[in-house]
Symmetry: C2
């Protein structure tokens, strides 16, 4: 496999892992969320407005609380962009939660043959960029 | 060098690179800031409330605007924690800007013998954690 093809494949695998994260989030599936986070690397998480969570137990407890709320609005990932460097990958994207837009950073680490999350940060963003605001998200396409 | 020593050294080098970032920020040194960002890897940056900047030109233009403001308050980095995985490193920390606290993620990539920034995100945080709030930052110690 040539280097260029390998880079494209890793980006595709990272975007797939990023989709799995938002699918677990949207479907409020705490077990799926747990399986998506690294076990051999220390993990950290910065939810909007929160202090930084710096242990896997704290991060998973936060997700169980967030996903356990039956009134939690759905979340849609928009405009993800991925870059892979060796065993670490970064995906930046937007999160649309009702009328709220967040900008997010998701850092993944390769463990075995999977890209797993080692860090997530989301924070408030003024609005979606114009090139995304006019489009229907993939999830809405019939 | 044993693996454990190597890991500790990489963490120390990452924390040093993170300090250099906040020193450039505090001293409003746009040239130093430019030198701290990767050139062989695509870079991204999410300033608080901003849309994601996705090119080196956009990122540097943002720093020139931010650092060029002579009334910009000083920034102090608190509680940095680093993890290195191969050629990529992550530092999470708090940024104290006057009465405002931000939580930040800084992703570094090794280029040559330097750790350079490939991504930065900072967003509002409720307050410093208790274990940091009671301490004087290193910069204030006489």
């Amino acid at each position: 496999m040539c280097v260029e093809t390998s880079v494209i494949n890793e980006r595709a695998r990272l975007l797939f892992a990023n989709d799995a994260f938002y699918n677990a989030f949207s479907s409020r599936d705490a077990a799926a969320m747990d399986a998506l986070w690294a076990r051999q690397t220390s993990v950290t998480c910065i939810h909007p407005g929160w202090q930084t969570l710096t242990s896997r137990d704290e991060v998973m407890e936060s997700w169980r609380a967030i996903l356990g709320n039956p009134r939690a609005p759905s979340i849609i990932c928009r405009g993800p962009q991925a870059v892979a460097k060796g065993d670490v990958g970064l995906v930046v994207c937007y999160e649309v939660i009702g009328a709220t837009v967040l900008a997010a950073s998701n850092v993944f680490v390769q463990e075995g043959d999977a890209w797993l999350l080692m860090h997530h940060q989301a924070g408030p963003c003024e609005a979606l960029p114009a090139e995304l605001a006019g489009e229907e998200p993939a999830e809405s396409v019939q």
